[in-house]
Amino acid sequence: MELLWLIPALPLAGFVILALAGARMPRPLAASIGAGSVGLSALIAVVTAAAFFPDQRAHTQNLWKWIDAGGFSSDISLTLDALSVVMVLVITFVGFMIHLYATESMSGEKDGYSRFFAYMNLFVGSMLLLVLADNLLLLYLGWEGVGLCSYLLISFWYSDPANSRAAMKAFIVTRVGDAAMAVGLFILYKEFGTLRITEVMNMAAAQWSSGSTIAVAAAALLLGGAVGKSAQVPLHTWLPDAMAGPTPVSALIHAATMVTAGVYLIARMHILFTLAPQVRIAVAVVGATTLLLAGISALAQSDIKRALAYSTMSQIGYMFVALGVGAWTAAIFHFMVHAFFKALLFLSAGIVIDALHHERDMLRMGGLRHQLPLAFWCFLIGAASLSALPLISAGFYSKDLILWESLASANGSAWLWAAGMAGALCTSAYAFRMVFLIFYGKAQSEASYRIAVHSGLRTKAPLIILALLALLAGFLQTPESLGGISFFSAFISTALPSTPTIGTAMSEGTMQYLSGFLSLLGIFLAYIFFLYNPDYIRNFIRKPFGFALHCFLSSGWNVDRLYDILFVRPFIYAAQTNCRDIINLFFLLVALLHKGANRVLCASQSGLVRKYAFGIAAGAALILGVVALK
């Protein structure tokens, strides 16, 4: 337990070392520092978790006083409870897998090898701080830290303007959410005089009535932050563009860090959200909207990574639905399973992309299952887990839990459930669309495989381990009808309350049949439209309506354009028009006035002695006159 501080400290130390001396290091050393620090951190996380497991008491480690000003006080202190144990294990473990994979996949980089690992380490370190923070300010530090790292990593190949732009977009959009969250912190501090999470939660529960304005405001502002980081509607637009970074980065952003921060925040602050039912409904609605919007958009993507990005948004949408109905455990369970299969999908997609010389267009791929057997099998397992293939995939158990709770929990509703079910159909359809497009069908570009990079153990081991987890992690928590294992929910129940369920018209078993059927139906549809008879879609897209629909969906429902018109352009226009600073004009006017007065008075200095003499005489006469008349 006393080693807790080492968990975030190791990756951060790795970052510092690599940042200072990485450029002069030989590559193997940089790689071993980069991956090793995260690996060690994972090891310590396991040790700590083992120590935590027997008595399951939250443990706080106070490192040093951070800020102490005028009654406001905040420490750098870490706390470990069941929720953070899960988060830390997933982050360090999946993070380590991705680092390991990256040591090989990034070896083709000319420069920036150590820079890459420095950023990655900082990323993991910030995320660990985020989930271990004992107060909201430290959480905010990690929160912004992951934002910065995503910015750095998306713009990793900086010289391409598109990458740099995507990075700017990611940072700015998430910062919008962050600003909202900051205001939320101000409210909490003003009300409670502290930002320590446990104290805030206790006081909120004690002092605020359910649905009071202040609780709603605070929760809504925190939701703003969560929406920004987790790429939910309406702040979701940065995520598809964030695919500009290297593939391991995408894996890290999507699986282990960054986008799950919002889920964590809401789960961590669950008491606050329970006190604000309106906001909790908003969370569920945001989640449902996002999962549908992103799920449908994913069907129309041709870029392999963009499709995966939309799938992440959609899956996080599920987690938000779960959070919204108060199924905290389900959300965290799905987070964990999602981390495994999404990392798996990205890493195997990375192999495909590298093998095809950075070709990311799925329409130009095909028939790769023989050339890239490992990638194929891993991607297949990932896709199966993503589309919640019944019984054998982990995704089935976690998603099923969410679907069931969205209907059966006291806060659930049929609408949310229906959205989730529709989403499930989309999910399996787009997941297997990707599988069919990439690995089946006619091979399109045979010649240019560069598999050598990915032949080593450091690629294979992470993939195989993640694949196993994507299949088996579901057995930590199974529904009543299928064994009723409740290991996960029992473990996390010390940190998160369980969800009360009410009776429904449908039994859990029936719903499982239904969702399993939808999952298989999705795969079947994908098979029909993308493998068996791909011409149907091709012809549809050639028609004007089909083309318009395709453009609309592949651009993510044109939200980018909308924001561009609403916010970006007016701001740029206003800034550009005023780049000479209009206020300066006022002072220029003052200067001009003085110049004018100067010109007028200059005219009086004629250089004619007689005029001066007249002036003197007239002045003297005037003064004498005044004196005489007085």
Binding site: E144, Y158, I583
Partner: protein, 515 residues
């Protein structure tokens, strides 16, 4: 006596710079560096002496160290220097940034180097005087003293448009300074008439009974002078030109220190001398602060000149300081002080980078830059860190400052703070835009120039260490500033020793001379 030494060392070094430059070209540089380092050590020793809790507690509401002799006793003018936590922090910052400014001039200034360093040192001793004077006459004296050498620094060693910029700078600050002079004299006479004691001594002038219009007008005279220096929108236009045209050292001093004299003035003079009147303008001042934050950020985004852009970010950052000061609570004012220090370091370093780029590329035009990370990765990394500091990233000092300011001002006004918080977004926009157009997005032209040298890297590393240290462990700073902040806000500054007071009044009561 320590305090006189603090000011005298740079002053004497400045005087010596002139003859020394004939002996060796770099002699003035080394002399300035030595003088500033010595000064920094003196300040550090004062700091170390007052770190123990017992001393700090004993000196609550008083001065850590003070020095007073008569200067013009007939008029009640004395030479009265004193340090409390607030001035100590700023004195330390002055010397720290002074060293950075001197180092930045190593290769940039080759013409009339002796005269340059003399002016630099005079400015610095003027600033030190401003931070230490507790006599309004003396304060005004130093206020002007720092102005004139700065005018020369811009006017002689500046860039293309230097004559215009230096004139504008001078007129703006001078106009503000004259308003302040009127207020000083007004306060002097009102206090004299009421008590019979004609004195410029700050400690005695505290608590002068003022009618409401008197207080408001006198306060405005001070406030305008300080708002020009700060600068607060709409009194900021001098800043963009002055910062842009000044040589690197000048920009560092301007942004890092001269702006702080404005903020310091608000804290030291406006609020304690006119508590009622300044409380009355709290809301307008907070609004001006917020406008400055947003306007400065938007302006920064639209600039195409590196230094001009950084100059406008200063407007934005100092808006936070104004917001914090007029929120009138401890958290916010402490935040404003941290923000002052952090802004001094981060903006100073950005100007340092701009100067280094100007030296290498002979341009500051952002439209010509781009993709320079591959040319100069060290420079890029340093710029990145300070761009991040500039946008208030947690872990840097700026975050501590901005967060405390906003946290505190939320207690004073929720709506205005919510608007000010959007400044965080605007800051992100300009900071990432800066990285985008300089070091990231390639513009096609391949730049070839040397990366940061050892000398420059040393400065960068120290600055990074400083900004991160403030970001992660601001406790020493906050501890030193806590007492003065409490004294300023609660108006418990007035504790002159009885002995000093009576001696002072004997010297000052000379009605015949005054009337």
């Amino acid at each position: 006596m320590m305090l006189v030494l603090l000011i005298a060392v740079p002053l004497l070094a400045g005087l010596l710079c002139l003859p020394l430059s004939t002996i060796h070209r770099k002699a003035p540089f080394w002399l300035s560096l030595a003088a500033l380092t010595a000064d920094l050590l003196v300040a550090a020793s004062i700091w170390a002496n007052c770190q123990t809790d017992a001393v700090a507690a004993a000196s609550a509401g008083r001065w850590l160290i003070s020095f007073r002799i008569d200067w013009i006793p007939q008029l009640g003018v004395g030479i009265h220097f004193a340090l409390d936590g607030l001035s100590l922090i700023l004195v330390g910052l002055t010397e720290f940034l002074g060293i950075a400014a001197a180092i930045s001039s190593w290769s940039e200034i080759n013409e009339r180097a002796g005269y340059f360093y003399a002016n630099l040192m005079f400015t610095i001793s003027g600033i030190l005087g401003v931070f230490m004077s507790l006599d309004l006459f003396l304060f005004y004296f130093f206020w002007e003293l720092m102005l004139v050498p700065m005018y020369f620094l811009i006017g002689i060693w500046g860039h293309e448009n230097r004559a215009y910029a230096s004139m504008k700078f001078f007129i703006f600050t001078q106009a503000g300074g004259l308003l302040m002079l009127i207020s000083i004299l007004g306060l002097y006479f009102i206090h004299g008439r009421a008590t019979g004691i004609y004195t410029f001594d700050y400690v005695q002038l505290l608590g002068t009974a003022l009618s409401e219009p008197e207080g408001t007008w006198l306060m405005l005279g001070f406030a305008v002078a300080f708002a020009v220096k700060l600068p607060a929108v709409p009194l900021h236009p001098w800043l963009a030109d002055a910062h842009t045209e000044a040589p690197t050292a000048g920009s560092i001093i301007l942004a890092g220190l001269l702006l702080k004299t404005g903020a310091y003035g608000f804290l030291r003079f406006v609020i304690p001398l006119f508590p009622a009147a300044s409380a009355a303008i709290s809301l307008p001042a907070m609004i001006i602060g917020t406008v400055s934050i947003l306007y400065g950020a938007a302006m920064a985004f639209s600039q195409t000149d590196f230094k001009r852009m950084v100059a406008y970010t200063s407007v934005s950052h100092m808006g936070f300081v104004l917001l914090g000061i007029f929120a009138f609570n401890e958290v916010a004012v402490q935040g404003a002080i941290v923000q002052m220090v952090a802004h001094g370091i981060s903006t100073g370093m950005l100007f340092f980078i701009a100067g280094a780029l100007q030296e290498r590329m002979h341009t500051r035009d952002l439209t010509l830059m781009g993709g320079m990370w591959s040319t100069a990765p060290r420079m890029g990394a340093v710029t990145l860190i300070f761009a991040a500091a500039s946008l208030g990233l947690p872990g840097t000092g700026n975050f501590v400052g901005e967060f405390l300011v906003l946290l505190g001002s939320w207690q004073a006004g929720a709506a205005i703070t919510a608007i000010a918080t959007t400044g965080l977004i605007a800051a992100t926009v300009y900071a990432v835009w800066l990285m985008h157009v300089t070091f990231f997005c390639s513009a096609g032209t391949e730049w070839k120039f040397p990366d940061f040298s050892f000398r420059e890297m040393a400065v960068a590393v120290v600055m990074i260490a400083a900004i991160v240290a403030i970001g992660l462990y601001p406790a020493p700073l906050l501890k030193v500033s806590a007492l003065p902040v409490r004294a300023i806000l609660n108006n418990t500054y007035v504790v002159p020793d009885a002995a000093a007071l009576s001696q002072q009044s004997r010297a000052a009561v000379k009605p015949g001379v005054i009337r």
